[in-house]
């Protein structure tokens, strides 16, 4: 993963030059908003001067900063502009923020372009955003130097003001904007010293806060244009089925209904890409005047379904070919569990081996073996999948919530038979994403529907459609074994993990590198139930399983769980086993030490009746550790407090990073205790929030305290890393409370009581 570079300086400059110069007028009603952190509305300038793809400056000194990556609650619309504003050296109060349009030429990226996911946003845009701000500051200084006939090096900037000390001259950015926009881009703009940061690491309020609390239109589902029709789809009621025939006579006759027809999301023979996962490429579309009318007509459809044949699909992703096999048949979760247990008992595919694990297990005085499993999970974004589309001839305008415009654009272009240049994608704020909206088949569906009815259309999934359409977190299983010698020293470690349809194994992560004899194997079981990325993919299961096992191991060895981990990390740091260890042992130990200190671990006795668990994990380039305190009330856990320690490098917006951590902690507790999607004869058994148990306020932790490691390392993401370890911290605290280990998620599920 380290090979993925940020935008090269050259491509950044080229594209910035392309974008600089002209006058830009016009603000979109959905995206053009004032910075809510300033109470008074900013006066809009009469003229804007474009500096580069990321910013423009008005003649009155007001700056608009464009956020390149779509927003789904991780707060990039605030944190990305913070980075530009820092290097531009502007007063944050004079900053407006806009969501950029999808434009790969303007916002190039070595890998995924304007992609939200993988906790990559801040990490991959850190350098381009800094360069953008610094380049504009340089141009402003050059313009002032020319105007004042003084050397540019003697000009200083601060909060949007240019100053020349010797001559006593000064001007605000607005005065110089026109001339500065014509200055050539610097080859290598000088960046600020980290110690001089004035905006970064100072908490700034969400720039969309005011619009959110006043209910302004900003989500895809809020999108509306004159003459827009509403569309819904009907998909097969079970995985393993496909469309056979439709009797739409009753539906068509219902009030407000314009049309009913079937659509095929892909052309025959279309080569799908990694994020074209879609269980139901053939659908019935219902189009009408209003949502309620379309909902009623949908109920009146009479559709026949038939078994879908076995199929497979090979995609190339990040240089690797991956084949997905979709067997025919109707699957059930009870069968999945049984099949996983069978595979778990057989040898897997060896992914990593250090030393001689087989020999070490043979001579072990004691072997500890434990198995963990977890069900499929639904993403359940609060805003159901939806998209707006307006197809006019060979031109397509689409707008809505999506994490990865660059993934779906080629798919849409191929389906419509048009070049990507003919597609305009507007990225609306997403009502949650969690990985689900990286798979935007619903955008193609909306475009096909608009094309057919020759009108602008907003496609909306009902909650039931959303929950039963596929793209779930896979079901997983992991078996851990540890070999101890007669003195209870750890001499070998073995992990074998698999799932439906992928393995959660990260073979090169801790404790790989810390144990001489190490073996990691994986396996998988094909399934026609479609899966996809879900907040911290794979880590979201294996992190908790591994951290539960390490807790049990520490206990068997008579060691404190934090000290045990620190000993392993010391070994990994000083004398690592193997070469490809995918973590920095010092930073990993750092979050454990910080959480140890801040929680008073081992020093302060928790309150009477309170049980504590600890866990840590490294994924998506950020380190996280949690100590969780709980009490049991009427056989159910009440999480009293979570203390978290995070190392994500420089913390761009501390309040927002704290909010992300607290959300991930609470979300993780919810999924660990209740999260579960089950299937019977191919059908998702939970179809809405009456059956699918989500965490609610009463079950949220009573208090969460978040601490960040202070360093000057370039920032990494916050959306995912705090999520996986909370599963382990909760499991370990539950053991302390009940005396019983939990091995199978959901820990509580439908049970009335635990312990």
């Amino acid at each position: 993963m380290t090979a993925i570079n940020n935008t090269s300086r050259r491509s950044f400059l080229r594209n910035s030059i392309l974008a600089s110069g002209g006058l830009v007028i016009g603000v979109n009603w959905l995206t053009g908003c004032k910075n809510a952190s300033s109470e008074a509305a900013l006066a809009l300038p009469k003229e804007w001067f474009n500096f580069n793809a990321y910013l423009k400056i008005g003649e009155n000194g007001v700056v608009t900063i464009f956020t390149p990556n779509p927003e789904f609650g991780q707060n990039v619309m605030t944190s990305m502009p913070i980075i530009v504003a820092e290097e531009l050296d502007v007063d944050w109060k004079n900053v407006l923020v806009e969501m950029a349009a999808h434009d790969p030429a303007k916002y190039p990226d070595a890998m995924f372009g304007q992609f939200t996911g993988g906790s990559w946003g801040i990490r991959t845009k850190w350098e381009p955003l800094r360069n953008a701000g610094a380049a504009a500051r340089h141009m402003l200084k050059e313009a002032a130097a020319q105007a004042w006939q003084v050397p540019a090096e003697e000009i200083t900037t601060s909060e949007g003001i240019l100053k020349h000390e010797k001559s006593g001259k000064s001007a605000d950015y607005g005065e110089m904007a026109s001339a500065a926009a014509k200055i050539p881009m610097p080859e290598k703009p000088t960046l600020k010293e980290i110690k001089d940061f004035k905006i970064i690491s100072q908490s700034k309020k969400n720039v969309r806060g005011k619009e959110i609390v006043t209910g302004k239109p900003m989500f895809g589902l809020d999108y509306k244009v004159e003459g827009m029709l509403i569309a819904m789809i009907e998909h097969p009621p079970a995985f393993g089925l496909k469309l056979k025939s439709v009797d739409d006579s009753a539906a068509r006759a219902m009030p407000g209904i314009k049309d009913v027809f079937t659509i095929k999301t892909y052309n025959d023979g279309f080569e799908k890409a990694m994020f074209d996962t879609n269980a139901f490429p053939e659908l019935v579309a219902i189009v009408g005047n209003s949502t309620w009318e379309v909902m009623q007509a949908k109920k009146a459809l009479k559709v026949e379904w038939e078994p879908a044949p076995t199929s497979s699909n090979t995609v190339t992703f990040m240089g690797n070919k991956r084949t997905f096999n979709y067997p025919a048949g109707l699957e059930s979760s009870t069968d999945h569990q049984a099949m996983m247990e069978v595979l778990a008992a057989k040898p897997g595919k060896v992914v990593r081996r250090n030393g001689d694990p087989e020999a070490a297990f043979k001579k072990a005085a004691k072997i500890i073996e434990r198995s963990y499993s977890a069900p499929h999970l639904a993403h359940n974004c609060m805003e159901p999948m939806n998209f707006f589309a307006d197809v006019k001839g060979d031109k397509v305008k689409v707008a809505g919530p999506l994490q990865a415009p660059g993934f779906i654009e080629p798919t849409l272009a191929a389906r419509m038979g048009i070049p990507v240049e003919n597609i305009e994608i507007e990225m609306t704020r997403m009502g949650g994403g969690f990985g689900r909206r990286a798979y935007s088949h619903y955008m193609v569906e909306a475009a096909l529907i608009s094309q057919k009815v020759n009108a602008p259309v907003k496609l909306m999934y009902s909650r039931e459609d959303d929950m039963t359409n596929g793209i779930y977190r896979p079901a997983y299983q992991a078996t851990y074994r540890a070999a101890l010698d007669e003195n209870d020293n750890l001499i070998a470690f073995h992990v074998k993990a698999g799932g439906i349809p992928e393995s959660p194994l990260h073979a090169d992560r801790f404790p790989a590198g810390a144990i001489d004899n190490y073996l990691a194997e994986d396996w998988k079981i094909d399934s026609n139930i479609t899966i996809g990325t879900f907040r911290a993919p794979r880590s979201n299961f294996i992190g908790g399983a591994e951290q539960s096992f390490l807790d049990e191991l520490a206990e068997a060895m008579g060691k404190d769980p934090i000290e045990f981990r620190l000993e392993l990390l010391k070994r990994a740091k000083e004398n690592p086993v193997g070469e490809k260890n995918d973590y920095d042992a010092a930073r990993y130990a750092g979050v454990l030490e910080l959480v140890q200190e801040k929680s008073g671990w081992g020093k302060t006795a928790p309150a009477v009746g309170t049980s504590r668990g600890v866990a840590a994990y490294f994924c998506h380039n950020t380190y996280a550790a949690h100590v969780l305190d709980l009490t049991m009330e009427n056989g159910k856990p009440v999480v009293q407090k979570v203390t978290s320690a995070i190392d994500c490098g420089i913390v761009v917006n501390p309040d927002a990073a704290t909010n992300m951590t607290e959300g991930a902690v609470t979300d993780g507790i919810g999924n660990a205790l209740y999260g579960e999607m089950t299937f019977k004869d191919g059908a998702a058994e939970k179809t809405n929030f009456d059956k699918y148990r989500m965490i609610r306020m009463i079950e949220a932790p009573k208090a969460i305290e978040v601490h960040f490691v202070k360093n000057e390392i370039a920032p990494t993401g916050m959306g995912e890393p705090p999520f996986p370890p909370i599963f382990g911290a909760l499991a370990n605290a539950l053991y302390k409370a009940t005396g019983k280990r939990v091995y199978r998620q959901p820990f509580l599920g439908e049970q009335a009581v635990m312990g």
């Binding site: 809510a36 609390v213 209910g215 589902l221 609060m382 909010n659 929030f689 609610r696």
Partner: protein, 150 residues
């Protein structure tokens, strides 16, 4: 189709809709008041919460025909300038992540504070338990309600 005159955010609004249409869709599709959100359609998530009189109601299961002249308040009408104490507290605590559920949370919280100006933690948890926040900002929501209660 039938004609209904509704009292929404202090204004009389006339709509021609099917009498079974839930207020949620009247607001969103017919009156362009899209601050009230669709989340589940079965009164299980609270994203669609409005006030009917002073009471928090799930607008996704409230047919237009049952409303009569009772005043409806939506997030757009909660305050003139977005300065209701609950809205201010939400901004002060910077509660939102994705923000989709927050209008419903705010409408529910403001109804709670109207009936119970100084709610206990248990009262807040009880009243807010019908509102799902998928981003799980619950700790911040609770803190903001306490701030708004003063």
């Amino acid at each position: 189709m039938a004609s209904f005159t509704l009292n929404i955010n202090g204004k009389k609004q006339q709509v021609e809709v099917d009498p079974t249409t839930p207020i949620l869709w009247v607001l969103r599709d017919h009156l362009d008041l899209v601050g009230t959100k669709y989340g589940c359609g079965i009164a299980q998530c609270g994203a669609c919460t409005i006030h009917l009189g002073d009471t928090a109601m799930r607008s996704c299961v409230l047919p237009v025909s049952q409303v009569g002249e009772q005043p409806i308040t939506t997030i757009e009408g909660l305050s003139e300038n977005g300065d209701h104490p609950v809205q201010k507290a939400w901004l002060e605590h910077d509660v939102a992540q994705c923000g989709y559920c927050q209008a419903g949370q705010i409408m529910n919280a403001s109804a709670l504070l109207k009936s119970t100006p100084r709610p206990s933690d248990a009262a807040i948890e009880g009243a807010m338990n019908g509102n799902i926040c998928r981003c799980a900002t619950y700790v911040w929501i609770k803190a903001a309600i306490k701030t708004a209660a003063g």
